[in-house]
Symmetry: C2
Subunit: 210 residues, 2 copies
DNA sequence: TAGATTGTTAATCGATTAACAATC
DNA sequence: TAGATTGTTAATCGATTAACAATC
């Protein structure tokens, strides 16, 4: 029974389901049970069934889920049954790696625009995309109708650039700058900060100094 | 009243508190209330107080928290009041960016070893660290006593390399390969996959095709 | 058919929030 | 002192799990 208001924590698991299904399909599997999928993901079978049931009835009793079918449904639900153009702002080490990353294409994203404020970088290309001046950012974003940006600028610039992205119509920001950014309610932000994850894990490690 | 068993979800918030405190300190602030900290982080004041109270009494009624003091306590709790040596496995675009990333040093981590299986990369250096053959990985990890690895190899290699990392004594893995890896219970894994975050956000975007 | 597995409900579990006495 | 804010308890809220009828 599809609901209208799905908890964000459920939405956040869907991309993981999709990724695992894609992997299973690449391994030649065609059908999977909630139990198997859960084992792969470290999630309970009940939770997977409950999550999916919020969007429809995708499985078959006695059999499980048809992988190709469920993938298709999830891609539709997540709106990645199309390709989203993405901009990368800040073409340092992280920005360049994002521009070159081969993993986006199969998952619904294509890096289209690159921006940097360093004159020595402007005009150069990465993966066939010319780096533009950040002065042209708003114009270029609007012209390309881009809704998604990956932010890889220094901390001090992060909030100002964020404000400009929002002003240019960006609705989703993946922020690599290790700082919280403020955005209006209609704009979505996700954070990637490796040090946060490392520090989460060191809590559990034994430190000689203890 | 410090407890022995802290929920992992609480532990996961501590690095974010620490990061924000460091930022506030860099802005010249010396004291912060749970309310202000919460506003910055998008977390309720009550939750911050509750989380911190699991580890001790760090604040002062009527005043709030001394930033320098609370930072020190959190660094100790997270065991980043020291520097952890880290290995990067797979020196492609992501691995190189990690090797060059300046953001680790201040937060308790130093990249010490780099491994790749591509002969054309072995022997070359990044940030003063020589890339070693992956054949030497176990030996080098053990010799350096490294407990933390960042994994940036292709999907097909991820599980095999993981097994070898575990065998070599690694206890914490930050996995950039877009696949779930299996590890024994004593090994911690965190995942970074930008496409997962992007797909989480596209759920909420309006797609023309809808 | 018998066995397996879904979708869903109810029960449990855990996390967040509200409220306030204590106190700086 | 008066005002502010902590640490903590109890209440609320939400998420996960267990269980099972339905059914492929």
């Amino acid at each position: 029974m599809p609901l209208e208001n799905i908890p964000d924590i459920v939405v956040g698991r869907l991309p993981r389901y999709l990724r695992t299904l894609t992997y299973l399909e690449s391994q030649g599997k065609t059908v999977v049970s909630s139990q198997e999928l859960g084992d792969d993901l470290g999630i309970s079978a009940a939770q997977i069934r409950k999550d999916l049931s919020m969007f429809g009835e995708f499985g078959k009793q006695g059999t499980g889920y048809d992988i190709a079918f469920l993938r298709k449904q999830l891609r539709k639900i997540l709106k990645v049954n199309r390709t989203w153009d993405v901009a990368v702002v800040g073409v340092g080490d992280i920005g360049s790696a994002l521009a070159r990353y081969q993993g986006f294409a199969h998952r619904g994203f294509q890096v289209r625009l690159l921006f940097d404020n360093n004159p020595s970088k402007i005009g150069h290309s990465i993966s066939g995309i010319t780096i533009q001046s950040i002065d042209e950012m708003e114009t270029a974003l609007k012209e390309a109708g881009i809704q998604i940006a990956m932010l890889a600028v220094p901390i001090q610039a992060a909030q100002e650039i964020t404000d400009r992205l929002v002003e240019a119509g960006v609705k989703a920001i993946l922020n690599y700058a290790p700082i919280n950014i403020s955005v209006p309610p209609h704009v979505h932000v996700q954070y990637i900060d490796p040090a946060i994850h490392l520090q989460h894990m060191t809590y559990y490690l034994e430190s000689p100094e203890d």
